[in-house]
Symmetry: C3
Subunit: 344 residues, 3 copies
Amino acid sequence: MLTVNDLLAQVQVLNSLTDLEKSVPVFALAALDKAQTGQLTFLASPKYRRQLADTCASVVLVKAADQAASPVNCVALVVADPYLAYARLSHLFDTGPIADGNQAVTAQIDPSARVAQGATIGAYAVLGKGVKVGQGAVIGAHCVIDDFAAIGAQTRLQARVTVAHHCTLGDHCLVQSGTVIGSNGFGYAPTATGWQAIAQLGRVVIGDRVEIGANCTIDRGAIEDTRIESDVIIDNLVHIAHNVHIGARTALAGQVGIAGSTRMGAGCSAGGQAGFTGHIAVADNSHFTGQAMVTKGTTEGGLYSSGIPAQASKDWRKLVARVRQLETTMARLDALEKLIKETE
Amino acid sequence: MLTVNDLLAQVQVLNSLTDLEKSVPVFALAALDKAQTGQLTFLASPKYRRQLADTCASVVLVKAADQAASPVNCVALVVADPYLAYARLSHLFDTGPIADGNQAVTAQIDPSARVAQGATIGAYAVLGKGVKVGQGAVIGAHCVIDDFAAIGAQTRLQARVTVAHHCTLGDHCLVQSGTVIGSNGFGYAPTATGWQAIAQLGRVVIGDRVEIGANCTIDRGAIEDTRIESDVIIDNLVHIAHNVHIGARTALAGQVGIAGSTRMGAGCSAGGQAGFTGHIAVADNSHFTGQAMVTKGTTEGGLYSSGIPAQASKDWRKLVARVRQLETTMARLDALEKLIKETE
Amino acid sequence: MLTVNDLLAQVQVLNSLTDLEKSVPVFALAALDKAQTGQLTFLASPKYRRQLADTCASVVLVKAADQAASPVNCVALVVADPYLAYARLSHLFDTGPIADGNQAVTAQIDPSARVAQGATIGAYAVLGKGVKVGQGAVIGAHCVIDDFAAIGAQTRLQARVTVAHHCTLGDHCLVQSGTVIGSNGFGYAPTATGWQAIAQLGRVVIGDRVEIGANCTIDRGAIEDTRIESDVIIDNLVHIAHNVHIGARTALAGQVGIAGSTRMGAGCSAGGQAGFTGHIAVADNSHFTGQAMVTKGTTEGGLYSSGIPAQASKDWRKLVARVRQLETTMARLDALEKLIKETE
């Protein structure tokens, strides 16, 4: 059982606490309006402020300004950023499997692979020639790590991840189940009868602290490498084509697609299902809303969007008709203007 | 070889048949216009009615109104709903592998896992600590079922499915190959230098008779659970983010994406590639056409749409230009109205 | 170490070379502006022509017209199609794993499966009853090939591919990691309480030289087969529903989705995230730009598009408002026209 004292070791708390407060037990995390005795909660957004007084949580993470409004029987931990503090502390309550630092006897590890001591290799994992796995890394069950790929220290691959030959991941990364890193880029030369595949000779090179969701695909470069800089976070089912470069700290939501050779700057974000044309350059700090159809690069940061939101289909049908009539509508407006001008 | 008599055991037939008719052999299913002797077909939609008289099928499922129009040499089975009857009977002709109720010797099953008798565990499947597998369930080859996950009775997982720790599936579900259930939700708190991942402490909780396609991803909840109610059907490559709640009987087509904390009602449907913003509530019986960009919840059922359908690119280019000019077009209209008003 | 002479064996070079030129060593491929001594490059597009004079490559593939402009110290290989020649030669520089023609001892191959001599079966692969694997084929680690599926000669499956029962792939195909071929189509009949699944009795039938990316899903047909003709190329995360027919040489980019029973002609292409409604017929040589929303078939080839490209969100918000006002805008225009007409 954790106590408030254990939380203090993980986050910087700005108010002083009594020994009694430090000894309060905490066994779980919950939302402000649902937390019960023994639970930790947090007030991260002003819009939930009115829930604070009524919380039944034993401990709450708050900004200094909200300390006074916390209930008397709830230990208020004053922190600079309650959401960040919650994020840090959440890991204390994680009940997921803990890597045991062992290599499964059923893992097939090429004799030339170099697995650091303390790295965990899951059941039936396959590690090819010259593969390197860093200290404390975790290779999940059924992962396939092809020849000469390198997995950095403390990097975790969940079950059923493919890392193709020569690709490299930095330290402290996470790759979720089903993701394929280093698939062949979609490069073909047309022939008289079909297509000639182009060997994809580049790698995927991934920085540190990159997190990649489930069932994503990240293609290796055609000649040079596909690059994902440090601190990038990527959601599920995202497609990153060959030669793409993703700048540091950029966040890509679910089902985003980025076509070949596009460069995303640092600190960018893309909402779910946004799509990026190939061979464009997106400036640092450019943000795109969901389903954005990005056909041109940006030269400065900012928020970009496209699409007409969904509405009742009968209204939508009229709208489509009206849009389709725009050419004639404008001709009518032209004619009217001309007529008026002549009349004057 | 099946006969008409075997079909009668599966569906309620409303007309009476002679012994001769009951003995007609049926070896396959086919469409009305392609069926041959020995084949079963069905008339489900009035638009195919004119094909009925010419079908060469040996047996046809029809509504009462269509019985008279069936060919003389074809046994007409009158049913309330021919399409549903076809659906039920289709399984008689399935040639897929039949689960043998055995546990593969190469499966790695933790001693603390509880696998019901008669459940099938495929080759190289990995079952973690405390995993429960119900009666008659089928775990495909290469599935990875993490610690404390629970698979209900008669639920089938095809090859290469991941079920992460503590997630639960009800009875009579189907999960197709490559799908990941219980991946981490995309939850991060921004820091000065990047992102702090938030441990995803919730589970995925799936009801009964839920069917999920291939290569989908369903994220576990951040604090509470991601929930998919009973009788939901989900196509391939669908992304369901953390804390989402999908109501009973809802149908999601291929590549649909639902962002975090969104609640879909019961009896809803979404066409392919439709995308739902996070934190919205969709009313029961709301239906969305393909590629719909759903940025707001709905308060009542109905059909919702967005998007201008594709057209010849040269016309599309003009249309985009016209839409882009709307601001000035409307200013011109304003000016014209003002001018006319002054003239009057 | 390769020399120019080795390249001549792979592509038809139209100019004559000296023995000295033929002996020039080539160890890698690089872009025109980055190539160094010992590297091969190519000039495929006129827009890079000005880089030719300054290239430091040892060898360059050019059209006849560009031969004279090549640097003196660089061997110019004159070819009919430099891009195609580059594509062919790229494979000389591929450093990926080479199939060893062996069957892994950990592969589980049903005794009734017929694996041609020289085919490679990777670690932990599972081959069901009656599976056929052709000469020189490569089945990657962790692939699951269900009963009676057939893999043609020289066809390569990367790691972790599923091929469901009775599906067939032709010769010289490539299927990348994580892809599922033969998943059940999304076919259900509504019932009073939910859905009755329809057994998907068709197969997936794939021609020769078809290349399919990573984490795709290709559903088996409901009654007849889903068919992909020869020389089709498919990028990552593409969804092809049941009963779809894709004509020869068609190219589908990442995250494209094609709904059930749609027929794509030959020589078509679809940009990333394009979506096709079910039950439509697309004419040969129809091309669709990315994110196209294809709700109707085409009767002739050509380029088709939809969508308004992304723009700064503040402008986009105005545009959405203007589009939403179109109904009233047109009513105002009607009124104005009427008024003018009466005035005249």
